[in-house]
C-alpha cells in the first residue's frame, strides 16, 4: 500500500506544481510583476521524478504490490528490462512522457530566466505547464500506474516477449518521446506570440534551436525504432506503414517543413504566420499520434490499448487545434510579413516547394492511416491501406525532394540565376552521369536504383560544395574549427545523412532476395552468393528463457538464429533472427522449421523432412546498414545544428 500512496502523492505534487505555476504566471502577467513560475515548474519536475523513482524501485525489486509491476515484470526479469518496464505499458509510458515534459518545461524556463518578465515567456510557461498538467491528469484518473495489487502474488506476468529481447528498448522510446515532448516548446511559444502579437522579435528564431533538438531526437528515435523492428520482428523489413509508425512520422514531416521555412524567416523575415501554423500543426499531430497509439481505434502491433483514454486524447487534440486556429484567425492577418517571395526558383521559392512536399505528404499519410476507419463507417466493409499505396506516393515525392536537395543549397536568395546555378552544379552533374554509366556497365540496371544513385550524387554534391564553402570561409577567418558552428554545416551534414539513408532504403528494397533453404547438420550451400552452413543445435535454458539455437555460419561468421520461449506470460514463443551485417550487405537468417520429431521449443515442425534438418529463411539485403549509418549522420548533423551560430554572430 505504501508504494501506491507514495506514487500517487508524487503525482499529485506534480499536478499541483503545474497548476500552481499556471496560477502564479497568470497573476504575474496581470499584475505586471516578475513571476516565480520556474520554481513551480521545478516542483512539478520533482514530483514526477519521485513518482518515476517509486515505480522504478518497485520494478527493480520485483515488488508485485503494484498491479503494474505484476503485469509487466517477473522475478527473473533482468535489470535492464526491469528498468525499461517503466515504459513497456501504457500507464508507465505516460510517466516517461510527463517526466520529459516537466524536465523540458523547467529547462526552458531556466534558460530564459533573464527574460522572465517578457509576456511571451510568460504565456509559453502557461501553455507548457497546461500540457504537463493534462498528461498528469490522465494518470491521476483513467491511467493510474499505481493501482494496488492486494493479492499476495508470488510471480508476475513479465514483460511482453518482444520488449525484453533487445536492448534497443532502452533508447527508442525515450528518444521518441523526447522528440514528441520537445515540439511542445515551439508550440507554446507560437501560442504566446499569437496571444501577445509579438512575432517580430527574436522569439521565432529562438524556436529553431528547440525544434532542431526535438527533430533530431525524433529522427534518431524513428531510425532506432526501425532498427529494432528489423532486428526482432523476423521479416527482414524495417518499416511497415503501420498506424503507430505513421503516427510518429506525421509530426516529423511537418517539423522538417518548419525547420526549413524558419531559415527563410531568419534570413528574410518571411513566412511568419505560416511558421506559427506549422509549429501548432506539429504539436497537434503529436497529440493525434498519441491518440492513435493509445486509443485502440486502429489495429497495430505497436499499440498500447485502452478504451478510456481515446476520447480524452482526441478531446485534447480538438482543444489544441481549436485554440491554435482561433488565435491564427484572430491575429494572423495582422502579423503577416509585408514582402513576398521574389522568384519561384530563388532559394525562398524552393523552400516553399519543400514545404508543399512535406506538408502534402503528411496529409496523404494521415488520410491513408485513417482511411480504413472512414471506409468502414461509410461502406461497412474492411479495407487495408498498406505499403503498396504509401510507397507509390513516397517514391515520386522522394525523387522531387532529392532534386530540391541538389539545387536549393546552391541557389541564391531573392533571385534565380541559371548561369550561376549551372556553374555550381556542373561538377556534380557530370559525376552523376559518370556514376550512372559505371552502374550500367557493372550490371546494376534496375531503374529505381539508377535514378536514386543519380539524384544522390547530385544532392551529395550540393551539400559537399556548401560545406567546402563554409570551410574555406572558416580558414580565412583563421580557425578551421569554426566551420563546425557555421550556419549551414549541421544542415548539410544532415542532408548527407539523408542521402546515405535514401540509398540504403532504395538499394535494400530493390535488390532484396528471400529464400528458404533446407540443411541437414553439417551441410552447407550457397544462397544468393552467401555461403551458408548449418552445424547443429544448441539449447539454452536460463531463468529468463528457453531457446533452441541453430549454429549457423554465413561467410565464415557465426550466427545463432533461434526460437525463444520467454518464461512468464504463459511462455510466449518468438523467433529470434540472426543478422550478419557489413557495409555491403546484410544477411538475415531465421529459424523457420525443423524436420521430423523436432523436440525443440516451439519451432514449426515440417513433416517430410528428415529429423535433425532445418529450414532456414535467408534474406540478403544489400546496403541495408547504410540506413543506420545515415541515421547516425543525421543525428550528428542535428547536434551540430543545435549549437550553430546565429547569422548576426556570423556577420560580426
Amino acid at each position: 500500500m505504501i508504494l501506491t500512496w507514495l506514487g500517487r502523492a508524487a503525482l499529485y505534487v506534480c499536478f499541483a506544481g503545474a497548476v500552481g505555476g499556471v496560477i502564479e504566471q497568470a497573476t504575474a502577467l496581470r499584475a505586471h510583476r516578475v513571476s516565480r513560475v520556474r520554481w513551480w515548474a521545478l516542483g512539478a519536475l520533482l514530483g514526477i521524478a519521485a513518482a518515476v523513482g517509486v515505480m522504478e524501485f518497485a520494478l527493480v525489486t520485483h515488488n508485485f504490490a503494484l498491479a503494474y509491476v505484476a503485469e509487466n515484470n517477473a522475478t527473473f526479469t533482468p535489470l535492464l528490462y526491469s528498468i525499461t518496464g517503466l515504459w513497456s505499458a501504457l500507464e508507465g509510458s505516460l510517466m516517461l512522457w510527463v517526466l520529459l515534459q516537466s524536465a523540458i518545461t523547467f529547462g526552458v524556463l531556466l534558460y530564459y530566466r533573464r527574460d522572465r518578465d517578457s509576456p511571451v515567456v510568460g504565456w509559453a510557461a502557461i501553455v507548457l505547464l497546461c500540457v504537463g498538467a493534462f498528461f498528469t491528469l490522465l494518470m491521476m484518473g483513467p491511467a493510474d500506474p499505481f493501482i494496488h495489487n492486494a493479492a499476495h502474488v508470488l510471480q508476475g506476468a513479465g514483460p511482453n516477449a518482444l520488449l525484453q529481447d533487445n536492448p534497443l528498448v532502452a533508447v527508442h522510446p525515450p528518444l521518441l518521446y523526447l522528440g514528441f515532448v520537445g515540439f511542445s516548446v515551439p508550440f507554446a511559444f507560437a501560442i504566446a506570440m499569437l496571444v501577445t502579437g509579438r512575432v517580430q522579435e527574436r522569439w521565432p528564431l529562438e524556436q529553431r534551436r528547440w525544434t532542431v533538438l526535438a527533430w533530431g531526437s525524433l529522427s534518431l528515435g524513428i531510425v532506432l525504432g526501425a532498427w529494432w523492428s528489423y532486428q526482432v520482428l523476423g521479416w527482414g523489413g524495417f518499416w511497415g506503414w503501420d498506424p503507430v509508425e505513421n503516427a510518429a512520422l506525421l509530426p516529423w514531416l511537418t517539423a522538417t517543413a518548419y525547420i526549413h521555412s524558419v531559415i527563410v524567416q531568419d534570413r528574410r523575415g518571411l513566412f511568419r504566420v505560416w511558421n506559427l501554423s506549422l509549429a501548432i500543426a506539429t504539436f497537434s499531430l503529436t497529440i493525434l499520434g498519441t491518440f492513435f497509439t493509445r486509443s485502440g481505434v486502429l489495429v497495430s502491433v505497436h499499440a498500447f490499448s485502452s478504451s478510456t483514454l481515446g476520447p480524452l486524447l482526441i478531446g485534447f487534440f480538438f482543444f489544441v487545434v481549436v485554440v491554435g486556429a482561433s488565435l491564427l484567425a484572430w491575429r494572423g492577418d495582422r502579423l503577416r510579413a509585408p514582402v513576398g517571395v521574389d522568384h519561384p526558383l530563388s532559394r525562398e521559392g524552393l523552400f516553399v516547394a519543400n514545404n508543399i512536399l512535406f506538408v502534402g505528404f503528411a496529409i496523404v499519410v494521415l488520410l491513408g492511416t485513417v482511411f480504413p476507419l472512414l471506409y468502414q463507417a461509410i461502406n461497412g466493409t474492411q479495407v487495408t491501406v498498406g505499403t503498396p499505396y504509401f510507397a507509390s506516393v513516397a517514391a515520386p515525392l522522394s525523387v522531387l525532394l532529392l532534386v530540391l536537395m541538389a539545387i536549393a543549397p546552391l541557389v541564391s536568395w531573392r533571385s534565380a540565376d541559371a548561369k550561376v546555378l549551372w556553374s555550381r552544379t556542373r561538377m556534380s552533374a557530370w559525376t552523376a552521369i559518370l556514376a550512372v554509366v559505371v552502374l550500367l556497365v557493372a550490371g546494376v540496371r534496375r531503374p529505381a536504383e539508377v535514378i536514386a544513385v543519380f539524384l544522390a550524387v547530385l544532392a551529395a554534391g550540393a551539400a559537399l560544395r556548401t560545406l567546402r564553402g563554409s570551410l574555406v570561409a572558416a580558414l580565412r577567418r583563421g580557425s578551421w574549427r569554426s566551420v563546425l558552428r557555421a550556419p549551414s554545416t549541421g544542415g548539410m551534414i544532415v542532408h548527407l545523412g539523408v542521402v546515405v539513408l535514401a540509398l540504403g532504403i532504395v538499394t535494400s528494397t530493390t535488390y532484396v532476395t528471400r529464400s528458404e533453404v533446407t540443411l541437414a547438420t553439417g551441410q552447407r550451400t550457397v544462397v544468393d552468393g552467401q555461403l551458408v552452413s548449418f552445424d547443429g543445435f544448441h539449447n539454452i535454458t536460463d531463468a529468463l528463457k528457453t531457446a533452441t539455437q541453430l549454429k549457423v555460419s554465413v561467410d565464415g561468421h557465426q550466427l545463432r538464429p533461434a526460437i525463444t520461449t520467454f518464461n512468464g506470460r504463459g511462455g510466449t514463443t518468438v523467433g529470434t533472427p540472426a543478422i550478419d551485417s557489413n557495409l555491403a550487405r546484410d544477411v538475415y537468417v531465421t529459424f523457420d522449421a525443423v524436420g521430423g520429431n523436432g523436440g525443440t521449443s516451439g519451432a514449426q515442425v515440417q513433416s517430410g523432412l528428415p529429423a535433425g534438418s532445418v529450414v532456414l529463411g535467408v534474406t540478403v539485403e544489400p546496403l541495408l546498414a547504410w540506413l543506420w549509418l545515415g541515421g547516425l549522420v543525421i543525428g550528428l548533423g542535428s547536434a551540430l545544428s543545435f549549437f550553430r551560430r546565429r547569422y548576426a554572430e556570423d556577420a560580426a
Binding site: F64, A67, A70, E71, I147, H148, N149, A150, A151, H152, V153, L154, Q155, G156, A157, V273, S277, S284, F291, S295, G296, V297, L298, V299, A303, S305, S306, S307, T308, G310, P311, I314, G315, F317, F318, V321, V322, A325, S326, L328, A329, W330, G332, D333, R336, V370, L373, L374, A377, G568, R569, G570, G571, T572
Partner: protein, 178 residues
C-alpha cells in the same frame, strides 16, 4: 485576399472538428480478448455451483442477486490465463464494493495444480471446482481463458475469448451496466 489567414484557419478548424468528432466516435478494436457471438448472449445464465477451490463454503452463484458477475474459466496449464491472472485480481479488488463479483471456474485441471496456480498468482476471487466439466459444458467453453459477463438481471451480456485486461473488463462492465 485581405483576410486569407482567417478564412484558411477557420476552414482548417472546421475540417479538424469534423475529423475529431469522427475519431471520437470510433470503437476500439479489442486486441486482447475477442468478443464472441456465443449463443448464450441474451439468455439466462446457466447455474454455477460447486465446491470452492481451497476449501471453505461451497459456491453457488445466484446470478440474479442484483450484481454483475464476471465468470472466468481458467486452468493452470493455460498460458494466457497466467497473463490475465493479475488483471482479474486487480479488477476484482477494485470493484468489490461496486456491485461486481468475479468468480473463477477451474477448467479441466487437477485440483492440486489449480490450487498452486491460485496461490502463485494470488487470486482475489473465489473459484469453483468444476467436476466432470458440467459447468463448462453448460457454458459451451472449449478452451480457457473464456470470460462471461452476466448482468444484474442474470442474463449473459458478453463473452470474451482470450486473456482479458483490467481496462477491457472495466469497459465491458460499463457497457453492460448502461
Amino acid at each position: 485576399m485581405k483576410r486569407s489567414v482567417m478564412v484558411t484557419s477557420l476552414a482548417v478548424m472546421a475540417v479538424v472538428v469534423a475529423f475529431s468528432l469522427f475519431l471520437a466516435t470510433r470503437n476500439p478494436v479489442n486486441t486482447t480478448a475477442t468478443q464472441a457471438d456465443s449463443p448464450l448472449l441474451g439468455e439466462r445464465a446457466p447455474l454455477i455451483a460447486g465446491p470452492r477451490l481451497g476449501g471453505g463454503a461451497a459456491i453457488d452463484v445466484k446470478a440474479d442477486l442484483g450484481h454483475v458477475v464476471v465468470v472466468n474459466f481458467w486452468a493452470s496449464w493455460c498460458g494466457p490465463c497466467q497473463v490475465e491472472a493479475p488483471s482479474l485480481s486487480t479488477f476484482a479488488w477494485q470493484e468489490r464494493h461496486d456491485g461486481v463479483d468475479v468468480v473463477g471456474v477451474v477448467f479441466n485441471d487437477r485440483v492440486g495444480a489449480a490450487k498452486d496456480f491460485a496461490a502463485h498468482y494470488g487470486s482475489l476471487y473465489p473459484s469453483v471446482i468444476d467436476s466432470g466439466g458440467v459447468i463448462a459444458n453448460r457454458y459451451g467453453v472449449i478452451s480457457p481463458p473464456t470470460t462471461f459477463v452476466i448482468n444484474a438481471r442474470g442474463i449473459v451480456a458478453a463473452t470474451l475469448l482470450g486473456a482479458v485486461t483490467t481496462r477491457q473488463l472495466e469497459a465491458v462492465v460499463a457497457r453492460v451496466n448502461s
